[in-house]
C-alpha cells in the first residue's frame, strides 16, 4: 500500500492525530511564551539572574527528550488538588515540551532587548520615559523581531519533539511513527513523519513571514502588533485552562500498555478487573511506547487498593 493510498483511506484518523499534534505544539509554545518572555525581560532588569536561568534552560535543552518524558512520569505533583505534573498523557508531554521551548524564547527576549542601541535607550530616558514606558514603547517593539525568531525556533523544536510524546500516550502524529516501528511498516512511519515535517515547515514559513513584517521601520501598525500579542495571550490562557480541565480529572484510572498484542490483552484484563471490582472508571491507553518506569507491582495488590497514589507499571 502506498503512502497516498494509506492516507486517503485514513483521512479521519490523520486529521485527529494532526489536530492532537497541533494542540500539543500550540499549548506548549503558548505556555513557553507566557513564561519565557516575562522571564527574559526580568533577566534584562536583573542581569545577575541571567547565568543561572539561562544555564537551567540550557540543561533542559540538552536532556534527551525520551529520557525527560520518562523522568516526568513518576512525579506526582499537585497544586490546590489539581494534578500539575506526572503520569502518562498530554499533560506530562506538554510540561516536557514547554521545558524544551523555553530556552530559545528566554534567550532571544534577553538578547533582543539587550541589543537595543544604548543611545536610543538614553534618548528615551532623557525624554522622561519611565522604565515601563521605555520597555513597552521602545525596547519591546525594537526587540520584537528577535523575540519572534526565538518563538519560531521553539515551535519547530516542539513539532519535532511532539512526535516522541506519543510514547507516553500524548497522541499526535508520533502514534503512526511508533506503530510503524513496531509493525516494521515504512508506510506507517512515513504517514506520521511526512505530515509532521510539513507542519514544521509551515510553522517556520508563517513565523518567518511574521518576523519580517515586524522588522524595523516596516509600515505595520503598532495597534496590529498589540492585537496579535493580546490574542496570543488570550489563546494561551485558554489553552492553560483547557489543559488543567482535561488533565485534572479525578476518580479515573488509566491502564496503559505497550502496543503489542499480548500487552494489549493483559491491559484489557486489568482494566475490566478494575471496573468490576471498584467504582473507578478506566481509561484504556493501549498504544504506548516501551518507556514506562518499571516498578514491580503485582496486579492483585493494585486491584485491592482503591486509592492508587501514582502511576505504576507491571512488568511480566
Amino acid at each position: 500500500m502506498s503512502l497516498a493510498e494509506f492516507l486517503s483511506r485514513n483521512v479521519g484518523e490523520l486529521v485527529t492525530l494532526t489536530l492532537e499534534h497541533l494542540f500539543l505544539v500550540g499549548v506548549s509554545t503558548g505556555i513557553a511564551i507566557l513564561i519565557g518572555v516575562p522571564l527574559g525581560i526580568l533577566l534584562t532588569r536583573k542581569p545577575a539572574l541571567s547565568k543561572p536561568v539561562l544555564g537551567f534552560a540550557n540543561i533542559m535543552q540538552t536532556a534527551p527528550s525520551l529520557a525527560l518524558f520518562g523522568f516526568l512520569i513518576p512525579l506526582n505533583i499537585y497544586l490546590f488538588h489539581v494534578k500539575i505534573l506526572g503520569g502518562i498523557g498530554a499533560r506530562t508531554a506538554i510540561v516536557a515540551l514547554v521545558l524544551y521551548a523555553l530556552l530559545p524564547i528566554i534567550r532571544n527576549t534577553f538578547t533582543g532587548i539587550r541589543s537595543v542601541d544604548p543611545a536610543i535607550r538614553d534618548a528615551g530616558r532623557g525624554m522622561g520615559m519611565t522604565d515601563r514606558q521605555l520597555l513597552f514603547q521602545v525596547e519591546l517593539p525594537l526587540a520584537l523581531g528577535v523575540i519572534i525568531a526565538g518563538v519560531r525556533v521553539a515551535t519547530v523544536i516542539c513539532v519535532g519533539t511532539a512526535t516522541i510524546a506519543a510514547a507516553i500516550d500524548a497522541g499526535g502524529l508520533g502514534r503512526y511513527i511508533f506503530r510503524g516501528l513496531r509493525a516494521n511498516d515504512n508506510v506507517l512511519i512515513l504517514a506520521g513523519a511526512v505530515p509532521a515535517a510539513l507542519i514544521a515547515i509551515a510553522a517556520d514559513l508563517a513565523l518567518g513571514y511574521f518576523e519580517r513584517t515586524v522588522q524595523l521601520g516596516r509600515r505595520t501598525r503598532v495597534s496590529a502588533k498589540k492585537i496579535i500579542i493580546a490574542g496570543l495571550a488570550v489563546l494561551s490562557a485558554a489553552m492553560v485552562i483547557v489543559y488543567f480541565v482535561v488533565g485534572g480529572s479525578s476518580g479515573r484510572i488509566a491502564v496503559g500498555s505497550k502496543d503489542f498484542t499480548e500487552q494489549v490483552i493483559v491491559g484489557e484484563i486489568l482494566a475490566q478487573t478494575i471496573e468490576n471490582k471498584t467504582r473507578l472508571q478506566v481509561t484504556r491507553r493501549f498504544d504506548l511506547g516501551g518507556i514506562l518506569p518499571t516498578k514491580p507491582w503485582s496486579p492483585e495488590r493494585l486491584i485491592r487498593t482503591s486509592n492508587i497514589p501514582g502511576p505504576r507499571s507491571w512488568q511480566y
Binding site: G124, G128, G217
Partner: protein, 255 residues
C-alpha cells in the same frame, strides 16, 4: 521667569565613577535664562557628563546641580526630563516610529489629545524647514543625516520645554550640511528664546551658536567667557582651540 534669571547652576559639582576615575571636578557654572552656553572640549573632557547631570541621567557624587533654583536630586527625574528637551546624535531617533510619531513622543507621554499632537508635529516640521506632507509619515532610515537632525531638534521642542540640551547634535553631518543647519538653528534660537546647553568639539560651531563658551579639559572648567574672550585667553587649551580655528582659515585661504 524673565531673562537674566538663572536657569541652571552648578555648585562645586564633581562626578566620580565607582572605580575612582573622576570625570568632572569642582564645576561651578551658571546658565542664564535664554542664553546658549556652549560646552567646548576634546573627547573625554566631561562635556556629556555635565549634560547628563542636568537631566539626572546621573547624579553628582559631590556638590549640587540646580535647575530653576531647585536641586536636581529634589526633582522627580521624570518630571524634570519632560521639562528639558534632549537632542543627541542622529541615532537617538526611534527607528520603529515615523517622523510624526517621533516628534510626538513627549506630548504623548504628557497625555495630549491626538489631534493636538498631530498639529504640533506638523507645525514643528515646518519650523525646522521640512514639508509636513512629505515627511510626516516617513521612517528615520528614509531620511538624510541633515533631515534626521532637524527631526531631532523638532522632537526636543515638541512639548515646549524651557531648557534644551544638545549633545553634539550636528556631529555626524558633512561640513556643508552642518554649516547650513547651524545657520538655521541660529535663527531658530532667536525666535524661540530658550535656555540651551550645546555640547561640541568644533570651535567654529561654538563661535556661531554660543552666547558664552565653557571650555573643559580633563573634567575641569578652564575658561568661561564670551567667544571673543576665548581668542584673547592665554590658557594653553584655549590657545590650542583658537589655533585650530586659524589653521582652518589659513588652509582655506591658501587653497
Amino acid at each position: 521667569m524673565s531673562n537674566g534669571d538663572t536657569a541652571i547652576e552648578f555648585h562645586d559639582v564633581s562626578f566620580t565613577l565607582p572605580d575612582g576615575k573622576t570625570l568632572l571636578a569642582n564645576l561651578n557654572l551658571q546658565v542664564q535664562q535664554g542664553e546658549t552656553l556652549v560646552l567646548l572640549g576634546r573627547s573625554g573632557s566631561g562635556k556629556t557628563t555635565t549634560m547628563k547631570l542636568i537631566n539626572r541621567l546621573i547624579d553628582p557624587t559631590a556638590g549640587e546641580v540646580r535647575v530653576e533654583q531647585k536641586p536636581t536630586v529634589n526633582w522627580d527625574p521624570i518630571r524634570l526630563r519632560r521639562r528639558i528637551g534632549y537632542v543627541i546624535q542622529e541615532i537617538g531617533l526611534f527607528p520603529h516610529l515615523t517622523v510624526e510619531e517621533n516628534i510626538g513622543v513627549v506630548p504623548r507621554l504628557e497625555g495630549w489629545a491626538p489631534d493636538r499632537i498631530r498639529d504640533r508635529a506638523r507645525r514643528l516640521l515646518s519650523l525646522v524647514g521640512l514639508e509636513a506632507d512629505r515627511f510626516a509619515a516617513r521612517f528615520p532610515r528614509e531620511l538624510s543625516g541633515g533631515q534626521r537632525q532637524r527631526i531631532g531638534v523638532a522632537r526636543a521642542l515638541a512639548a515646549d520645554p524651557p531648557i534644551i540640551l544638545l549633545d553634539e547634535p550636528f556631529g555626524a553631518l558633512d561640513p556643508i550640511t552642518r554649516r547650513e543647519i547651524q545657520r538655521e538653528f541660529k535663527s531658530l534660537q532667536r525666535e524661540l528664546n530658550k535656555t540651551m546647553i550645546f555640547v561640541t568639539h568644533d570651535i567654529a560651531e561654538a563661535f556661531v551658536l554660543g552666547t558664552r563658551i565653557a571650555l573643559l579639559k580633563d573634567g575641569q572648567l578652564v575658561l568661561l567667557d564670551v567667544p571673543a574672550g576665548l581668542l584673547r585667553s592665554t590658557h594653553p587649551e584655549a590657545r590650542a582651540f583658537a589655533e585650530s580655528l586659524y589653521d582652518a582659515q589659513s588652509i582655506g585661504s591658501s587653497a
